[in-house]
């Protein structure tokens, strides 16, 4: 039975003052309050992990130890790898958090971050060089790290890939100038074939039986008289199936370890009868899943946690694509509404704990990830709502329960993104609004009809499959079907687009990394009209995108042999059926996209050049080039001219909006020239995460008025902070000029609203009216910050008192105190829009 919180009159006071975090603390159950406060914050602030959070050496040691033992083994690589993964799961430390009902963690202890040393040697160097995250005793553990680093030199995934990449392209990508990521199948974010694994029809045990049948069948086949090329290919299939089976069996075993631990505690140590019962329930759940399909909501959540844990045992995962209300909803309905084995409050406790379990997940990640995703480990953007395959509304009671639980536990991650469609009920919309109003920064809103059409346009997903979509990361839709799901999105296909316009002025030379990165376009001072200037921009755009996409394509094609994913394959129907690794391009529809960080700087810069240089002839390109080379030093009046007297995106001004459309049009055309190994397109997706801060000291001065060091704009098609002067409708109108189906994959839009203006019923109606305009304009995305300057400035002064204040950064939310000062100031400077 849930220990409900006593209603405290201070809750009313806190809510009246919009101090939602204090109110939440009072309202949530004692259990949730305990579990919420027990979380170790795993996101980095700037580039460093929070004090006390340490690299987990256990996983690295287990992995390395087994790899050494397996060196002489005759097993093919995929089976060796599977055995290593199994060894880690069989031997890793496990624990059960006090008062928890769900178990499973990536590290060995709650404050540790799992470190996979087999992905990239240059990433291992991060562990070796880290100033704060090496566990005590530091000297001794540095020796351990040294030995692990030394072992993996030349053996890690990236080291194996290097000889088969173009070294020049690779160096440009890894220079830190234009790319954000690493082209590896084990370092990015994997969606899942949820239609296969999460619909209750099967679990690991069923799949193992299927694998056994396939192995027996093909084994018999290959030993019949005769031999062809197909016979030779069957050997690889047998190896792959064997490897899948090894990982699934290991998954069942570790669950049973948790069950045993729970029973040991219950039977020998726990005196509280209620807690004893809970522990036995945990044991029962872990004995059921993942071997067999879940029967209850608790088991369904537990199953999901195990799948995610195992996926993170196999790869570094930077996201958590999920549709939790859709796939767990039937169990909620069964437990709460039909069998009535759970009260709504008890269910809320479970839902809240599920959010907490997800919030604490962490793997040790390199600096570019930490800085680009400040405050979180990765973007757990959970997709809510939307439609079923038949087009009917998919919202259910669990959709509402998630919204309510989110307001109680106030984790920044997972964050929700809601698939809006015209048939969403008012009840659900009110729950959504309440989350936004209480300053969670989520759900973000997605235009479901537009995005379904978008998926069909860009990647040819059939409509029933397109309707299953989840966020693969922050924004990009991806089906969860046999052919439609994307097993690994390599973050490497993420372009720092501000470099496009920067390179026009430097003929492609990057002064921060001292390297020729872009195209050697003509000296900008020699360009005589805007069309020539824009032509140079196009060339730089194509060059940068091509460098990134070439590497990802290459890595994808080699992934099945060089960096296989036996576990992910073992939960994917297409791999079970075919015997091929799930990353095999021929099995997939293809769902690639290029994330376009720092996109709008191009638009505002192009507009400024067009107006002040070519239309008004106030400056020459030579003068501008010189001013930019000096970082605007001694040119403040000129800089302000370029900021204030040139039109800016987001003001419903066709002068600059037309430039946006032209740029997107060129990118869209090129998106169809670029092809992924599955033969599909590479549309762009403007958005940022906190890449605008990560790149602040990497992108030089630009014609939009920024200097080297300034935060870039906050992403997607959001106007520059403070530069949207004509109100919220003008912003929507600018964005509405883009065709959100054909113009690109998706377009992030941040808006900041006033918590005071949107209080009460009147506020809700204002917001609904605003959202109707948004929907009518066919804009695919929008997300909100609703927290005032006073709170944020107070949080800067006294961070300890504002631990649960959340802000929407870009494609994700973070606790305000968990991001760097520059990031904080950037968010505060976003224009507060008044509605109505």
């Amino acid at each position: 039975m849930t220990q409900a919180a006593l209603r405290d009159t201070s809750v009313d006071v806190f809510e009246k003052n919009q101090e939602w975090w204090w109110a939440a603390e009072k309202k949530r159950s004692t259990r949730l309050d305990y579990l919420r406060k027990a979380i170790w914050k795993k996101g980095a602030i700037g580039g460093l992990y929070a004090p006390g959070v340490k690299v987990d050496l256990e996983r690295a040691k287990l992995h390395t130890q087994k790899a050494k033992e397996m060196e002489a083994s005759p097993d093919p690589f995929v089976m060796k790898f599977a055995k290593i993964l199994a060894h880690v799961l069989d031997n890793k430390t496990i624990f059960i958090t006090d008062q928890a009902q769900l178990v499973g963690y990536t590290g060995s202890l709650p404050h540790t971050m799992a470190w996979d040393p087999s992905c990239a040697s240059i990433l291992n160097e991060e562990a070796y060089n880290d100033p704060t995250a090496i566990p005590d005793p530091v000297d001794e553990n540095q020796q351990v790290i040294r030995e692990i680093c030394n072992y993996w030199i030349g053996k890690s995934d990236l080291d194996k890939m290097m000889p088969v990449f173009d070294m020049e392209d690779l160096m440009k990508m890894l220079s830190g100038s234009i790319g954000w990521g690493v082209p590896l199948a084990r370092g990015g974010y994997s969606n899942k074939d949820y239609e296969y694994i999460m619909t209750g029809k099967r679990a690991f045990g069923d799949i193992i039986e299927e694998l056994d049948r396939k192995i027996d069948e093909v084994d018999a086949e290959v030993h019949k008289p005769g031999a062809t090329a197909e016979t030779a290919r069957m050997y690889d299939k047998l190896n792959n199936w064997d490897a899948m089976k090894i990982t699934l069996e290991a998954g069942i075993r570790i669950a049973k370890r948790y069950a045993r631990l729970a029973r040991i505690i219950a039977e020998n140590f726990e005196e509280d009868p209620q807690r004893k019962e809970e522990l036995l329930k945990i044991a029962s759940a872990c004995e059921q899943v993942p071997a067999k399909p879940p029967r209850t909501l608790q088991e369904s959540f537990q199953y999901d946690i195990f799948i995610q844990m195992m996926s993170r045992n196999e790869a570094i995962e930077g996201a958590w694509p999920s549709r939790p209300d859709y796939y767990h909803g039937p169990y909620y309905d069964k437990d709460v509404n039909i069998d009535k084995t759970l009260t709504k409050e008890e269910a809320l406790d479970l839902v809240g704990e599920f959010l907490i379990r997800a919030a604490e997940v962490c793997q040790f990640k390199p600096k570019w990830t930490r800085e680009g995703l400040q405050g979180i480990d990765g973007t757990w953007v959970w997709t809510m709502g939307g439609v079923k395959k038949d087009g009917s509304d998919a919202c259910n009671d669990l959709t509402i329960a998630f919204m309510q639980a989110a307001r109680l536990v106030r984790v920044a991650n997972p964050t929700f993104s809601f698939r809006w469609h015209p048939k969403v009920s008012d009840e659900v919309m009110r729950e959504i609004f309440e989350c936004i109003r209480q300053g969670l920064g989520y759900p973000s809103m997605r235009h479901d009809p537009v995005l379904i059409a978008n998926s069909m346009h860009w990647h040819g997903h059939p409509i029933e499959e397109a309707r299953t979509w989840v966020h693969q990361a922050c924004l990009s839709p991806c089906p969860t079907t046999k052919r439609g799901y994307q097993p690994m999105r390599m973050a490497n296909a993420t372009a720092n687009c501000a470099k496009i316009i920067e390179y026009v002025f430097s003929s492609g030379f990057d002064h921060v990394v001292n390297m020729q990165v872009g195209a050697e376009t003509p000296d900008v001072a020699t360009l005589t009209n805007f069309e020539e200037f824009f032509g140079a921009w196009i060339e730089q755009m194509k060059t940068i995108f091509s460098i990134l996409v070439r590497a990802v394509n290459r890595a994808r094609m080699l992934a099945p042999t060089l960096t296989p994913r036996p576990f992910l394959s073992g939960i994917s129907e297409r791999s079970i059926e075919s015997g091929l690794d799930t990353c095999e391009p021929s099995l997939a529809q293809g769902n690639a996209w290029i994330t376009a960080f720092t996109w709008v700087e191009n638009i505002d810069s192009l507009a400024a050049v067009k107006k002040l240089v070519f239309d008004e002839k106030k400056y020459t390109l030579a003068e501008l080039k010189e001013a930019l080379a000096k970082n605007w030093e001694g040119c403040e009046e000129m800089r302000l001219d370029f900021v204030i007297n040139a039109p800016k995106w987001g003001n419903d001004d066709d002068y600059v909006d037309d430039i946006m459309l032209r740029c997107l049009d060129e990118a869209a055309k090129f998106s169809k020239v670029l092809k992924c190994p599955s033969g599909n397109n590479w549309p762009i997706l403007p958005e940022n995460v906190s890449g605008n801060i990560h790149y602040a000291n990497i992108v030089g001065a630009l014609p939009n008025g920024r200097r080297l060091g300034d935060a870039l704009y906050d992403g997607g098609v959001s106007p520059g902070p403070g530069l949207d002067k004509n109100g919220p409708t003008a912003v929507l109108k600018s964005c509405g000029k883009i065709d959100h189906i054909t113009g690109g994959r998706a377009f992030l839009l941040n808006q900041r609203l006033s918590p005071t203006q949107l209080a009460d019923e009147k506020g809700y109606q204002l917001w609904r009216a605003y959202m109707r305009t948004w929907a009518d304009l066919g804009i695919d995305h929008i997300q909100f910050n609703m927290v005032d300057d006073k709170t944020l400035r107070s949080a800067q002064k006294d961070p300890e008192k504002y631990q649960e204040v959340i802000v929407r950064v870009a494609g994700y939310s973070a606790h305000f105190v968990d991001i760097s000062r520059k990031t904080q100031d950037n968010i505060i400077q976003r224009t507060v829009q008044g509605l109505g």
């Binding site: 540095q142 020796q143 390199p366 800085e371 602040a696 000291n697 990031t823």
Partner: protein
Amino acid sequence: MSRRDEKRQAYTSMLIPEKKEDSSAKRVGQKICGTCKNYMESSWSNDGRGSCSCLKMGSNISISPPLYVLDGKEGYLTKTLSDAAACKYFDKMKMIDKDGYECSDPIYRRSMRQLQQND
């Protein structure tokens, strides 16, 4: 050696770390590339890579005598902890920002553990 080979050699040496002999927490020397004004640390990761904005590709300050190439565009790829004692272009930074709680700043920020006690 062709330009392509030269680049490939330089890049490979950067992307595959060297094996470490000893990781005892010795203080690094005062004159290392990381404490020079001309050095730009990689923002991609803390693997200790970077480049020189003064010396160009083809330079080598780890040999005796050092080889200085000042012509050309591409910067000399080097590492934060590389010994710069012999480099005549070494110009000590006045201020090193060790605050890793802000994002990368290739010119000023050095958040590697080995430099935290380096004054």
